[in-house]
């Protein structure tokens, strides 16, 4: 898999320890442009910690993260967002008191230009001034982004558009997950990390989400996906990586990984957790 000349994302020996526990243990990974890789594994395998390391919410104890041609190890989340990395969160982190529109507009924050001139030192003060004065360029930019948000929300059919002015805390669980994905799309990401996008969704909603992710993939988006629903993983992924206790125990096309004895053992070795997760999910 390392044959691609210029992978979009490349992890080498990525390690994160919490006290005596190695949550992420020397992970290597190469993600090519336009590829979709799923990361599966029992609960506590280190999947979300791996996401946190890639998106800058946590710093690795060892190893490197390369994005495009750049070493981004230890970059701040703000900086990584500006580089074009967007993510959703496992437990859902919408802005509860913001409307659906405002939530998704925050996703487009890194793309603000007119109101956020890239001037050193006095840039923030200019931003304050422009926000208050609102010259036509700023108004036009805001208007354009609002139209764009509506277009993104339209991808979710009638789920979100009728609720565009409602505060996010009033939405159903599934709709909050959709808002998170809409917010990520508003960033126009080069790399999208989805952390269990279908958690808590019923089969119909899961199918909708699966169709959306498939659509994003055909549009050429590079995606890293954490997902427990194996059927969805098998259909969407170019490759699957299996993690257990922080280590990568298998990697390859879905069908191949599924039959790997180490993988079966990882799931069954943890009691019945793997099996119940699948049926409960």
């Amino acid at each position: 898999m390392g044959e691609q000349h210029n992978p979009m994302l490349s992890l080498r020996g990525l390690t994160r320890r919490f006290g005596g526990l190695t949550a992420v243990d020397a992970i290597d990974l190469d993600l090519a442009r336009g590829e979709l890789i799923s990361i599966i594994g029992p609960n506590g395998a280190g999947k979300t910690t791996l996401f946190n390391l890639v998106t800058g919410l946590d710093r690795p104890d060892a190893g490197t993260v390369r994005f495009g041609s750049q070493d981004i190890t230890g970059f701040s989340p703000e900086r990584l967002a500006a580089e074009g990395i967007a993510r959703t969160f496992q437990l859902g982190r919408v802005f509860g008191n913001l409307s659906v529109m405002d939530n998704v507009l925050i996703g487009a924050h890194t793309r603000l230009r007119a109101v956020k001139p890239a001037v050193p030192v006095i840039g923030p003060l200019l931003e304050l001034g422009l926000a208050l004065l609102r010259p036509s360029s700023v108004k036009a930019e805001e208007e354009r982004l609002r139209e764009e948000v509506k277009a993104i929300l339209a991808r979710f059919g009638e789920r979100l558009l009728p609720r565009i002015d409602q505060p996010a805390y009033s939405l159903s669980y599934a709709n909050r997950r959709r808002v998170e994905i809409a917010r990520a799309l508003a960033l126009k990401p080069r790399l999208l990390l989805l952390d269990e996008p279908t958690a808590g969704m019923n089969p119909t909603e899961t199918a909708e989400m699966q169709a959306l992710v498939a659509e994003l993939k055909t549009e050429g988006l590079t995606i890293l996906l954490i997902e427990h629903k194996l059927e969805m993983v098998m259909r969407l992924s170019d490759r699957v990586i299996v993690m257990d206790e922080g280590k990568k125990i298998a990697e390859g096309p879905g069908e191949e990984v599924r039959g790997d004895p180490k993988v079966i053992e990882a799931y069954l070795g943890h009691g019945l957790s793997g099996a119940t997760e699948e049926s409960a999910a």
Binding site: R93, F95, N97, L98, H109, R134
Partner: protein, 607 residues
């Protein structure tokens, strides 16, 4: 050398007293993740109960200690049962605000019962000094050390060997798990508040005997010192709180030795800010933790704000604008001028505490910076008053933001503590920087307000001036809220981790919020300075910070109209009902408590 030993002993003795307060705070924080701002009030109650016992009832010392501990424990139990238990399932900030309200109520009750004049609390021990090395030590020093060590030991035995003690430790490690295992968390809370209050009460009595003086100002000082010691040791860490207290006592004692008495508190708060910035989990906390993933929107009560139509606001503004044309008394105008000045401060605080979620408890410092800047500009540099007030606003925006910036990396309750400390530091610097601020004498003869060369002396002109300034600031802030900055601020408040993941720099936007808010507060302080014509380091105090916070919560966090409505209500209603000044603070405390309990979103709702 001998005096150093004296200072060391003194530092350790004082540290021991702080430890009695700090251990109580640490126990409460450990179990309920709450910084109990009412701890100092219980300390105050303990001191006055001690006074009643010693002076009125002539009880012997052991009985005095028992009476004080028992009464304070009862106060603690009442506080827990009626003040905090009803808030178990409300937003995280609610119990913190409730303890602030309770402390106002308790302090005020003590003041109304015993009068604000200081009283002597005689030590019941013989007045002899023992030679120790080069220094001396008295029986009271030994008693304080003895009580400190004994209660630490008793606490250790209780926590380690009693069944209830196990429950306390279990609940402090994982409240939900403890509940599932059948631990009665309410009983644990009762035990913790009872013990903390008993310790706090006894320490208040001992300090009263140590200085042979008690007064109602002790309360806030004790809370502040206890909080400093607790945070230095690591919030919730009982042994850490003891060591933090001793360290605080030593730092203060040496600081006093080198620089003088008026620097005592400055060292305490500098120590706090340094620890918060460098090791926010305290000196003895474990290594860095993974960022938790809380549910979003838990800090602010979700609500739908009341939308008031523009025409209604315009009508209200016009009605207030033409008010002086009617035959209203000077008294009414004066009251409303106070409301407009408080309104500017509340606008500032509602942006900082409500919109971007940094609940500041030291906001009066911004008033002080604006007031001193404007007063000094007009006095020393003869700048026209109108420009000087704007200068005060700009200075408050710049300096205030710079001073507050160490707290930008903190979250939740820690922001409140840090801003409280920074506010105290500002007031102490004003007190000690005599060459610029004229120190404790204050600044007198500040010229009256003037605009384009015309002095604004009549109440009517001052009324219009402050109304216009406040409305202008409110309109500007309303415009800010509808811009991309408004949604960015609110996003940071709701979930700073998700906000960062979408490219929002916390430093940048918290700075912008404090710059904008600092300007409004500085202008308010500047105008006040020219109205009062005399200011000193106590003109703008913590009471005003808390009053502003009450106004902001009353109106609805982040709500611009709410901030003004809240100001008019809290300044105006006591006047309408002709309530005597000494009862007002009591009422503010009660209002804060009732709001937190029954309407956390305020009158007009959170925005």
């Amino acid at each position: 050398m001998s005096s150093w030993l004296d200072y060391t002993i003194n530092g350790l003795i004082v540290g021991n007293v702080y430890a009695l307060v700090a251990v109580g705070l640490a126990l409460i924080f450990g179990v309920s993740r709450l910084i109990n701002f009412a701890q100092g009030s219980i300390y105050l109650v303990g001191a006055y109960i001690g006074w009643v016992a010693v002076v009125q009832l002539h009880t012997p010392l052991p009985l005095t200690i028992i009476v004080v501990a028992a009464t304070a424990a009862v106060v603690g139990l009442i506080l827990e049962r009626f003040g905090l238990r009803p808030l178990q399932n409300s937003v995280r900030i609610a119990p913190l605000l409730a303890t602030i309200g309770i402390s106002f109520v308790l302090d005020q009750l003590v003041m109304l019962t015993f009068s604000p004049n200081p009283r002597a609390l005689p030590s019941q021990l013989p007045d002899i000094r023992f030679q120790l090395g080069g220094g001396t030590i008295g029986p009271l020093d030994l008693l304080i050390a003895g009580v400190g060590i004994t209660s630490a030991l008793l606490l250790f035995v209780f926590l380690r060997y009693s069944k209830l003690g196990w429950a306390v430790r279990a609940a402090s490690q994982d409240r939900d798990a403890a509940m599932q295992m059948g631990v009665d968390v309410n009983r644990v809370n009762q035990a913790v508040f009872g013990i903390a209050a008993a310790l706090g009460g006894v320490s208040g009595m001992l300090v009263g005997m140590y200085y042979n003086q008690i007064d109602t100002a002790m309360s806030l000082q004790a809370t502040l010192k206890g909080v400093v010691a607790e945070v230095v040791g690591g919030a919730g860490n009982v042994p850490g709180a003891v060591i933090g207290s001793l360290l605080l006592g030593l730092v203060e004692s040496y600081g006093v030795a080198v620089f003088g008495t008026s620097y005592r508190n400055l060292f305490a708060f500098l120590l706090l800010v340094v620890v918060l910035v460098l090791r926010p989990n305290g000196l003895f906390a474990s290594a860095r933790q993974a960022p938790p993933e809380p549910l979003t929107g838990t800090f602010i009560a979700p609500s739908r704000p009341v939308r008031i139509p523009r025409w209604a606001l315009a009508v209200a503004a016009a009605a207030f604008a033409i008010l002086p044309l009617f035959p209203v008394s000077f008294y009414v105008l004066q009251t409303l001028i106070n409301a407009w000045l408080l309104g500017m401060l509340a606008l500032s605080l509602t942006l900082v505490a409500g919109t971007i979620g940094q609940v500041s408890l030291g906001h009066a410092a911004l008033l002080a910076i604006g007031a001193y800047t404007s007063a000094l500009l007009s006095l020393a540099l003869s700048v026209p008053v109108g420009l000087a007030v704007i200068g005060g606003g700009l200075m408050s925006a710049a300096l205030g933001t710079l001073l507050i910036s160490p707290s930008f990396r903190l979250r939740g309750h820690y922001v409140s503590i840090a801003t409280l400390a920074i506010g105290e530091i500002v007031s102490l610097v004003i007190l000690n920087w005599e060459s610029v601020t004229r120190g404790p004498i204050g600044i007198s003869g500040i010229p009256p307000l003037s605009l384009f060369g015309y002095d604004l002396i009549s109440p009517t002109s001052i009324y219009w001036f402050s109304l216009v300034v406040m409305v202008a600031l409110a309109l500007l802030q309303g415009r800010l809220l509808t811009s991309h900055l408004g949604r960015s601020f609110r996003a940071i408040r709701d979930d700073d981790i998700a906000a960062r993941a979408y490219g929002l720099s916390l430093n940048r936007y918290k700075s912008l919020a404090f710059i904008f808010g600092g300007f409004a507060a500085g202008v308010s302080g500047g105008i006040a300075a020219h109205l009062y014509s005399y200011i000193n380091h106590e003109t703008f105090n913590t009471q005003q910070s808390i009053l502003a916070l009450t106004v902001v919560i009353l109106g609805g966090l982040g709500n611009v109209v709410g901030a003004i409505v809240g100001s008019v209500a809290l300044v105006g209603l006591p006047e309408v009902f002709r309530i005597a000044a000494e009862y007002r603070i009591l009422i503010y405390g009660v209002v804060l408590l009732l709001l937190v309990r029954f309407r956390p979103q305020g009158l007009l709702g959170t925005i």
